[in-house]
Symmetry: C2
Subunit: 228 residues, 2 copies
């Protein structure tokens, strides 16, 4: 098994059967020691973050697979903090797909002239390029198509899947008394038919959630979601 990529929060190993093994680490993104799911740097290390993130990812990916929503998920081993996934090809060098239910974060920084903080948004989907050097710029359907990153047909499927998956996460959080504000996903093309599937993870570090008007930290979110 060969290490093929060292990520900010996960390492990736190639398996002999063609699948990949993701090793979840205890690092979370942020700046100056403060967690920020949209940040491009590792902000802090918290004991147990890897296993907690994987546990929530396992919960959601198994749920999505059972609903027939395509993901790269094969299996997970919580004790080892590892997840086995199918190989996927990225869109260009990677895009992030954001689903928003409340106007916060980068949405508000861009569109604050027209939106108030916390204003409800109806599963609004945005795409940004994974490009640390250029601060993950937002990109339109037309630009994605023109630059050969994502076809118009793929864009439609991606947007539809994003809303579906966002709504699944939102409903599950609501069962635990939390409100999902926004969540970011990654997608890839899987299999010979190159169908679009959810990849990466769905953990506390990918979303912003509030309970009784108070922001819930990723580790606390995962604890609340996974307790009986």
């Amino acid at each position: 098994m060969n290490l093929v990529y060292k990520g900010k929060t996960k390492d990736v190993y190639a398996m002999e059967n063609g699948n990949y093994l993701l090793k979840f680490k205890d690092d979370v993104t942020g700046e100056n020691g403060v967690f920020d799911p949209g940040a491009n740097t590792v902000g802090l290390t918290i004991e147990g973050v890897g296993k907690a993130g994987l546990s929530l990812t396992k919960f959601f990916f198994e749920k999505l697979n059972s609903m027939g929503i395509p993901t790269h998920y094969v299996s997970a081993n919580i004790n080892d903090a590892t997840m086995i996934v199918k190989p996927a090809t990225m869109f260009g060098n990677g895009v992030e797909v954001i689903c928003r239910y409340r106007a916060v974060g980068s949405f508000l920084r861009r569109y604050g002239m027209y939106a108030e903080e916390g204003q409800p948004l109806d599963a609004f989907v945005e795409i940004t390029l994974k490009d640390d050097e250029r601060q993950d710029p937002p990109i339109t359907e037309d630009a994605l198509d023109m630059l050969g990153i994502l076809s118009k047909d793929e864009y439609r499927i991606l947007k539809d899947l994003t809303k579906k998956i966002g709504n699944v996460v939102k409903e599950e959080l609501a069962k635990k008394g939390m409100e999902l504000y926004d969540i970011k996903f990654e997608f890839g093309r899987i299999g010979e038919d190159k169908h679009i599937a959810l990849i990466d993870e769905i953990s506390g570090g990918n979303m912003r959630a509030y309970k009784d008007g108070k922001y819930i930290e990723p580790l606390e979110l995962e604890r609340l979601m996974l307790e009986d």
Copy 2:
């Protein structure tokens, strides 16, 4: 006639018959004394810029009107550096529509991971919000619709008009041996039927053009375009 708005490059007066009179000034946008059509500040003042910009605007708006492409233009008086226009309502607090034929400027700053400097683009249309405080953020069709700035139907018309007008400008510049790299437009809703029409101006300050591989300054561009 009342002054109703002092702009960066034009002042706007309300006329008694409901039309508006635009007074073109000798200020151009830029930073630190260097012209930049995408800048939000007045960078420098050049004698004659107002009349030259109006002359080119008159040329293009009369051409567009004769082609049946809707604009706000009524008439122009070059000696006074004034133009009479029909009243128009803006989209939100104003948007800028950019038509790109080569990858330069903010396009390259955002999408440089996928595009090379000067790479041909096929009349690629982008929309940015007029919001100095937030550095004129780019915005998608979905966000424009959701925030009530522009409906999906209006977006389609706007994009179509932008390509048509961009191509008219590109062809006219080509007749003088210049190549249009990009151009920005403003549109508004005019008349009782609120039809979408080109507003503002089409002058050297709105576009980037090259001749024999060399960038052409706005005043020089206007001189080349208007000479016999």
